[in-house]
């Protein structure tokens, strides 16, 4: 009888142990899942031209980069607080926000692409991402969120010192209500 009891005990013991191990493993995977969801690609020879082979390798790199960007978006969504739209009636009142000393820079892995290396740096302050930078791209300023600036009223009043607005091709329909339309109307 005790053999029967022992058998049942062993079965229950190993089933429970297996479940516990599985749960611990899932918890640890979830805990350690961070931005770098993809492995850095193997080094490739930099290619200056636009041959078919470079276009194909570029396609593979872009697929990996898109998953990197998706993970980067997750960090942006979890750590970034709501960014408020800046509203001003005059460009002269636009002020820049200095980066305080409590900010820290987080550097991601370096990815090799045909025309060099790309490393992403994120500057975080108080749990908010305030700047995203790719320092390997030469002669470029730190990337930042493109905050919209409202100038419609100033343009309609003729008080904004802007003579033209450049944008993706806009059609004649809706011109009167557009920014460029406001500039023309103020002048006509």
């Amino acid at each position: 009888m005790w053999k029967k009891f022992l058998g049942k005990f062993l079965i229950y013991f190993f089933v429970i142990a297996f479940c516990l191990i599985l749960l611990v493993g899932i918890y640890r995977i979830h805990k350690t899942k961070i931005v770098t969801a993809t492995e850095p690609i193997s080094p490739q020879t930099p290619n200056q031209g636009t041959t078919a082979s470079s276009i194909l390798s570029n396609k593979k790199i872009q697929n990996k980069r898109s998953s990197f960007n998706t993970a980067k978006t997750q960090i942006t969504q979890t750590k970034q607080t709501q960014i408020n739209t800046k509203q001003t009636s005059s460009l002269s009142s636009k002020k820049s926000t200095p980066v305080p000393s409590t900010s820290r820079v987080v550097t991601g892995p370096t990815y090799q692409i045909p025309w060099g290396n790309v490393t992403v740096q994120i500057t975080v302050r108080d749990g908010k991402i305030i700047a995203v930078r790719t320092p390997n791209v030469p002669n470029s300023s730190p990337s930042r969120y493109a905050a919209p600036i409202l100038v419609q009223q100033a343009l309609q009043a003729g008080s904004a010192n802007i003579q033209g607005v450049s944008g993706a091709t806009y059609m004649s329909i809706g011109f009167k209500k557009s920014l460029e339309g406001a500039i023309a109307q103020a002048g006509l």
Binding site: Y145, V151, S178
Partner: protein
């Protein structure tokens, strides 16, 4: 004291705004009307949205030799050259995808099994004629508007300061009032009544290519007119690219190619040509060159 005269007309389906410094109202109206006539000629020549255009007739005769004007021949020829330089990324054959998804003429056009590329375009320079592949539709987008702007502003010779804005592509000359440079704002891709930057330019052109303005639905999917010919799909990754170059045509081409290349390769392409740029990606993050930042005011 200097005064400013404005003119507005519509051609090629877009609004065109002229600004002149220190000329009479009559002269401003004269130059504006002359510019309109030049734009109308280019529209009649290269529009894929009217059935009486030279381009439409060329596309109707696809598969056959068709004699065209020198101007249209030059446009297609230059497009083919750009396609060769970009490995087919920029390709005037993009009209095939655009027409097949319902954007522009011809109507009721189905995507063929084989989508011809720039390599299938035959150019006979001696007889000024073109033969494209059967079921190949040509669309020289990315070059025509800039070329029309440069053609039109030639008539503003004796005006000391002027600006011409054709649907978002701008060319300037001389100074605005009081000797100041021209201030050009860059439109925000998400909020069309907002801007992201203002730059100061002098004798330069500012052009923007974007994926946010021209969109349409095809089979329950949103398409925009910047097509990656290698994949036959709209591009992704960038919302807009703005550049500063001397002529409007150069600016038009630079933005088109940079946007097709995407964020990384596009930046390399523009840096190699030393063109100041501002890119806004799909996350609404701005990426700009130091040379563009140096032009910004109000930062």
């Amino acid at each position: 004291m200097e005064h400013v005269e404005h003119g507005v007309f519509h051609s090629m389906g877009i609004p065109i705004h002229t600004t002149f410094v220190d000329i009479s109202k009559d002269k401003a109206e004269y130059y504006t009307q002359k510019a309109k006539s030049i734009f109308d000629i280019w529209d009649k020549r290269c529009s894929r949205f009217r059935k009486d255009s030279e381009l439409f007739l060329l596309n109707e005769k696809r598969g056959q030799w068709y004699t065209v004007s020198q101007e249209l021949f030059a446009v297609i020829s230059d497009c083919v050259q750009l396609a060769e330089e970009t490995g087919g990324l920029f390709d005037p054959s993009v009209g095939t995808y655009l027409a097949a998804t319902g954007y522009g003429l011809p109507q009721k056009f189905s995507l063929p099994k084989y989508v011809a590329t720039f390599r299938d375009i035959e150019l006979d320079i001696t007889r000024c004629r073109i033969r494209c592949y059967k079921d190949q539709i040509l669309e020289p987008a990315g070059i025509v508007k800039g070329r029309a702007i440069d053609d039109a502003v030639h008539i503003f010779n004796d005006v000391s300061g002027w600006m011409l804005n054709a649907g978002g592509d701008i060319r300037t000359h001389g100074n605005f009032i009081s000797g100041s440079d021209w201030h050009v704002a860059i439109q925000h891709p998400d909020k069309l009544d907002a801007i992201v930057a203002v730059i100061s330019v002098h004798d330069q052109s500012v052009a923007t290519s974007g994926t946010y303005q021209t969109t349409w639905n095809f089979h329950h999917e949103l398409w925009q007119h910047q097509i990656d010919m290698r994949q036959g799909r709209p591009t992704a990754g960038l919302k807009s690219v703005s550049v500063v170059v001397n002529t409007a045509e150069e600016a038009d081409i630079a933005t088109s190619i940079a946007l097709l290349y995407g964020l990384d390769r596009g930046q390399i392409f523009l840096k190699e040509k030393e063109i100041p740029y501002l890119m806004i990606d799909d996350l609404t993050i701005r990426h700009s060159s130091l040379s563009f930042d140096a032009l910004e005011i109000g930062q």
